[in-house]
């Protein structure tokens, strides 16, 4: 049974989830206006997963994920302005406008991307864990992937090495039931992703990713395990993305009813709001303060992303190689 949250913890978690939702709604608008281009993968529906995991992390821990990364970055406390300005391809973006929606990083917040090659982030995550172990900094790496990515061979190469060497990595599978237009039933023989580490003795569990406290509790178990030197852990979160795969996807491969069913009965933010008011007795007025603050934060990010200038043409040829270190 997940423990009760304090009012303060609850308000922070609610704020973080709401920030992601409102941020993504605005990103969707900006995309419609032509201010954001290319691929843009929204995280709406999956907010409880990253917010729950982030709540148990320590400052030295590292996070890496794929291209559906806006939520992860906001959960890592990266500045919404810098994220939105990257989406609009401006110099104020986290990658100076040179990375785009799928490729953003923050050394300061230990967020290691933002990777556009499905599955590639997983062995990289094992490498971040390798570095934690090597440096003995007691850090854990959270390496996230989708249900689709879970069928990539390098995921299993990574499981093997992580188990073999006892690396402190938590593999997170955000099972939103689709990889683009392919449902898990059509992509995966035996889609128990959490059990796929069994052959290597990696413990795994399936968790309702729409229920924040369950995510938190599972993330605590998994990170405790990895941090204590017992090696990797797999968490599969049952979740759902409300929007298409990317902005250009009308999502014809699933029914409206299927989506509505989740929105009405399983929405992670609605559910948590009810928990706040009914179980924790938090007042509507307190929640309203957060709603307003989030709205303001997102509007500021939008404004910044529109007014930040495009990168200087001279930026085309910078950041290809790092400055030479002194050789001697």
């Amino acid at each position: 049974m997940p423990k009760l949250l304090t009012q303060k913890e609850a308000l922070k978690a609610y704020r973080d989830m709401l920030l992601i939702r409102r941020f993504e709604e605005r990103a969707s608008q900006l995309y419609g206006m032509g201010l954001i281009a290319g691929f843009c993968h929204l995280y709406i529906g999956q907010e409880a997963v990253v917010v729950g995991i982030q709540s148990v992390l320590k400052s030295q821990d590292t996070v890496i994920t794929a291209y559906r990364d806006h939520g992860h970055m906001l959960a890592c406390d990266m500045d919404p302005k810098g994220v939105m300005a990257e989406l609009t391809g401006r110099s104020g973006g986290y990658s100076k406008g040179k990375g785009g929606s799928m490729h953003m990083f923050s050394r300061e917040k230990n967020f290691f991307g933002g990777h556009g090659i499905v599955g590639a982030q997983i062995p990289i995550g094992a490498g971040l864990a390798f570095a934690h172990k090597y440096k003995e900094d007691k850090g854990v790496c959270i390496a996230s992937m989708g249900d689709g990515a879970s069928n990539q061979g390098q995921v299993y190469e990574s499981y093997n090495m992580a188990a073999l060497w006892g690396l402190p990595v938590v593999y997170v599978i955000e099972n939103n039931h689709y990889g683009m237009g392919t449902s898990v039933e059509r992509s995966s023989a035996g889609p128990n992703y959490y059990g796929r580490g069994q052959g290597w003795g990696i413990p795994g569990e399936k968790v309702d990713g729409m229920r924040l406290m369950e995510v938190m509790a599972a993330a605590q178990r998994a990170t405790d395990h990895a941090r204590s030197g017992k090696g990797p852990y797999i968490l599969e979160f049952d979740t759902y993305r409300y929007r298409g795969h990317s902005m250009s996807d009308p999502a014809k491969y699933r029914s409206k009813e299927e989506v509505e069913e989740v929105k009405i009965h399983r929405d992670p933010i609605d559910y948590f709001r009810t928990y706040m008011t009914e179980t924790l007795k938090i007042k509507e007025a307190q929640i309203k303060v957060i709603d307003d603050e989030v709205k303001k934060t997102v509007l500021e990010a939008v404004e910044f992303s529109k007014t930040s200038p495009e990168p200087d043409p001279s930026e085309l040829y910078t950041d290809i190689l790092k400055e030479e270190a002194p050789l001697q």
Binding site: K96, H103, F112, I320, L321
Partner: protein, 343 residues
């Protein structure tokens, strides 16, 4: 000119010794591992077996299993793991048993290691060395014989080194390990056992990446080569000298960034150039050389740029066919004479 009569090693360095390329590479890694705790070596058979080609001989004993790591046979996975370790502040040396197997991992090398600095607006350096033998060994057929120099040299965000002598191998590997960027370091199996008298024992001695070396001076034709082909080019130059043609042999040493200046200066003097490599001709290093000479030395050329390359076929196994598929001294001599209009 013997290998140690070189302008870039200070003649005050009395510590030059004769070593095989294999020993020089090992010493280079060992010195850097002593110098920097964050340097570690990983790959298949690098530790307990002392390296598939014994390049890491003794390193496990010297540094222990934390820093000399035997991996499973999992190139895609351990290349990616190396990239992550580099993002995480370490300096991995990742050995491929041969670069042919790096094709399993090329996605991580290019999409993750080479591009991330740019995609992160300069935040995310990836100080990693991918090293191992490259190109043809002997009689190992099509899947174990290819030279990947042009594949990797194509990619911004990488540095690509391919040394010839033992001294260069050591000093450039040390530079690669210290470099804050991803470096592809292409060795050659047939060179591993060859000795050179140019190895510095000064642990602070490194060579700059991106600088070619004129291994033989000449006024009539420029021959460019890298790795084992440098030896072939030098032999060809000896033969050409007998026929009164003085060839200048440039050891490219680094393929990216290529030392265009040294090549152009040479061509301004010789007015003729032959590019030599053992890989396939199409879109190869020689193609690039031809284009660069058009762009930078067109007015100095007295003959078309010629390429001596491997044959445009998968490497055959049969001894006679393998010989035919690889550049030989005769083909270099012929090409040099052709551009001198002496055939």
């Amino acid at each position: 000119m013997t290998a140690n009569q070189r302008e870039d090693i200070p003649m005050t360095d009395s510590s030059l010794v004769t070593l095989t390329v294999r020993e020089a590479l090992r010493d280079g890694m060992a010195e850097e591992m002593i110098r920097d705790e964050s340097v570690f070596l990983m790959g298949e058979e690098v530790a307990e077996y002392n390296g598939a080609y014994k390049v890491s001989q003794g390193l496990l004993d010297q540094f222990g299993a934390k820093r000399v790591v035997d991996t499973p046979i999992t190139e895609h996975g351990f290349a990616g793991l190396g990239v992550g370790a580099a993002f995480g502040g370490l300096r991995p040396i990742v050995e491929f048993m041969t670069f042919n197997f790096s094709m399993q991992a090329i996605d991580q090398i290019i999409n993750s290691a080479a591009k991330t600095l740019y995609m992160s607006g300069g935040q995310m350096g990836c100080p990693i060395v991918f090293r191992g033998p490259n190109g043809a060994a002997s009689r190992v057929g099509a899947q174990h014989s290819h030279c990947y120099a042009s594949w990797y040299a194509h990619c911004p965000g990488l540095k690509v080194i391919s040394p010839y002598s033992a001294g260069d191998a050591k000093a450039l590997l040390k530079a690669a390990i210290r470099d804050p960027n991803p470096v592809v370091f292409l060795e050659n199996e047939l060179l591993y056992g060859r000795s050179f008298d140019d190895v510095s024992q000064d642990p602070d001695y490194v060579l700059p990446i991106g600088k070619a070396l004129i291994r033989r001076e000449g006024k009539d034709v420029t021959l460019t080569a890298f790795s084992i082909m440098v030896g072939k080019a030098l032999e060809a130059a000896d033969r050409l000298a007998e026929e009164g043609i003085e060839a200048e042999v440039i050891d490219l040493r680094t393929l990216r960034p290529l030392d265009v200046e040294t090549i152009v200066e040479s061509v301004m003097k010789t007015n003729r150039i032959v590019s030599i490599e053992e890989s396939w001709p199409f879109a190869g290093i020689g193609s690039e050389m031809a284009a660069l000479m058009m762009e930078h030395a067109f007015d100095y050329l007295d003959a078309p740029v010629l390429r001596v390359t491997g044959a445009d076929v998968p490497m055959p196994y049969a001894a006679n066919l393998e010989h035919l598929a690889l550049p030989q001294v005769e083909s270099i001599v012929e090409a040099a004479k052709a551009v001198c209009y002496r055939s």
